[in-house]
Symmetry: C2
Subunit: 389 residues, 2 copies
């Protein structure tokens, strides 16, 4: 039987606090102990960022298989059950298993101490590299290094170089830098250069917005806005010429829907062409925005809707990556096979293979033969997607 190799480009792994503690530099451990011992303080800070919704316990969803976050054996059993051959690993965005001092949707626990939050990200990255190495099937995990807070550019470059040699496969940036107007600032040039040179794709993940304050409606406003903030990296690096200067740099926009891509590209292409106003035609780029998107960008569409699948040619099949968001409750686990059929039944085989596995294998450097061997055991059959829709 011909089985599909499924790669989930949006999964989350995390350590228990007592384990993260061991990866922290020693002088920060006492403060981390105090933070973990005071969920009220964490909740107060989280409420400043996202309003009354403030997960401080073990997770957002009661039904999540908690130990799968850090136990590779349990984790692989769940991937098998879901038919997923390999996965890309982001951290937990909030709660007790979020990276130390960096635990409220990308905002530091203490806004006045970004150095602690940066140390927390380093602790997560070192734990994650060890998690992948300790797995019975390391070839099934691609870990991403969390580059949370970027004011010390040389330190970030060192961290990315470390991540590469430690076996991690890309980096995660905040939706916007810690200070200054945005990612178009030329001071970040060394980051783009090292990511291009080392073939480390750069990710934003939906979930970081402007702080809304602990006010009525704040949580809903935060959720309405987070995806847009995650999109911004594209046009910041586009218009500032970063994508032109670094043609092998890759950007991946994860868990922020996919249906926005065609409209966004159309609007940027209009701006580039001066269709609306000559005043806005301010770019000297040699290619249109949609050409840079097609060359260098992917959308980590996660749990795509049927409607988004029907838009796949407008989005660009080569730029679409699917994801289960395991173990989060808004994702497809533990019913991934049903979710895949609901979205993809009737799609031609070549497009199915691309969106569900091949695109991801190319970007993250998974070995197609190793994964095919796993898929032969657990993957859904290609034939099962063949019914007309």
């Amino acid at each position: 039987m011909d089985r599909l190799t499924i790669v989930s480009c949006d999964c989350h792994a995390a350590a228990r606090p007592e384990v993260y503690r061991e990866y922290l530099e020693a002088d920060l451990r006492t403060r981390y102990d105090a933070m973990i011992a005071s969920p009220e303080a964490v909740a107060r800070r989280a409420a400043q960022v996202i309003g009354p919704f403030a997960p401080t316990g073990d997770g957002e969803g009661e039904r999540e298989p908690l130990s799968a976050r850090w136990d590779p054996v349990r984790r692989l059993a769940e991937l098998d059950r879901d038919g997923i051959a390999a996965e890309v690993l982001f951290p937990q965005p909030a709660g007790r298993n979020a990276p130390p001092f960096y635990n409220v949707f990308g905002h530091p626990f203490d806004p006045n101490d970004p150095a602690a939050a940066a140390a927390g990200c380093r602790a997560h990255n070192r734990w994650l590299a060890d998690f992948v190495k300790s797995s019975p099937a390391p070839e099934r995990h691609a870990g991403l290094a969390l580059i949370g807070l970027v004011d010390d550019v040389p330190a970030v470059v060192r961290e990315i170089a470390w991540a590469k040699q430690a076996g991690l496969r890309g980096v995660i940036l905040r939706s916007q830098p810690l200070s200054g107007p945005g990612w178009h600032d030329p001071r970040f040039e060394p980051i783009w250069a090292v990511c291009e040179d080392l073939a480390m794709p750069i990710h934003t993940h939906g979930g970081e917005g402007l702080e809304t304050g602990d006010l009525p409606g704040a949580t809903s406003i935060f959720f309405t806005e987070v995806c847009w903030f995650a999109h911004r990296l594209f046009w910041h690096l586009l218009w500032s010429g970063v994508l032109e200067r670094h043609p092998r740099l890759r950007l991946v926009f994860t868990e922020q829907f996919a249906d926005w891509v065609p409209g966004m590209l159309k609007r940027l292409d209009m701006q580039y062409a001066g269709t609306v106003s000559a005043a806005t035609r301010t770019s000297a780029l040699p290619m249109s925005p949609s050409a840079y998107w097609a060359r260098q960008c992917s959308v980590g569409a996660s749990f795509m809707t049927r409607e988004e699948c029907e838009m796949r040619h407008a989005i660009g099949v080569p730029s679409i990556l699917w994801g289960s968001d395991f173990p989060h409750e808004e994702g497809t686990w533990p019913a991934t096979p049903e979710a895949l059929h609901a979205t993809f039944d009737g799609v031609p085989p070549a497009e199915l293979r691309a969106m569900l596995g091949e695109n991801a294998m190319a970007i993250y450097g998974f070995d197609p033969r190793s994964l095919a061997a796993i898929a032969a055991r657990i993957g859904p059959t290609l034939a099962s997607f063949a019914r007309a829709c």
Copy 2:
């Protein structure tokens, strides 16, 4: 002949500096003189906001009829030539004819002196009220009061009450308040109450974004983002319950395109229904977001494209307002008749009347009989739009 009454819901009027000066409180005039005498300082500040594109002269476009900004006779001649019976008046966003101290796309000239910028807005409002009264045809102008900077809420309430009695027909807010997390803050409640009580619709106008710094790509980034920032007021007032508590409050979203409305409403309705994630279903509102939009919101679509016109039922015909953006060069002047035909030919008469005039007359309190008399002289014939498309 049956002629259409055309109302442009997006026009711009402004005074010369020496005239604004007379409307400023006396203790600010010397500083204003110094600012006007130093276009370099204005340009430096503008570049912080919007990058290298920084209009400091008389206008953005060379071909604009400059004196029409402040001379009602010249202005009415241009409206006649364009077939426009009445107009809604915003200020100039930048350059020498922008409101004093508030002259760089909604950002104050001196960020450390918001009081001066607020005084500049008051000067513009008083000049605008006089402009309308001095016009040979005051019934053809609806001026909007600029409420630029909102930290002193009681002062804003007083300004809105003054504007109402001075004959102005609505207010313009910044895309976001001067300080704090957003318009959902309960401290702004008196503003929503007075606008509802006095039937003063609240506007945002595309053109204010986050400061981009004077960096490569900054101007393009600013133009890419300004429309989104102008949309935010809707979901800030929606999720915080303002639209529910003030059912007669009206919001108008001007010159920020129209094609975003259906997708935005669909996404917010999904969030309201918890379709994507139970975690994001955080609202206790009794109606869906699209129901509040239909009840209380309009999109000042300005120079609509044919494609946006074809989306009119998804946007909602009763919520669409057309605008020429006179005298800006990206608008339809001096070829409004041709632009109207390109966009609207073949649209049924009842929908044409609604989008091009009736919706606006209801919101802004124009007298349909007075405007019909003007339209009988200058308006395009309904029959001319009848050809199939």
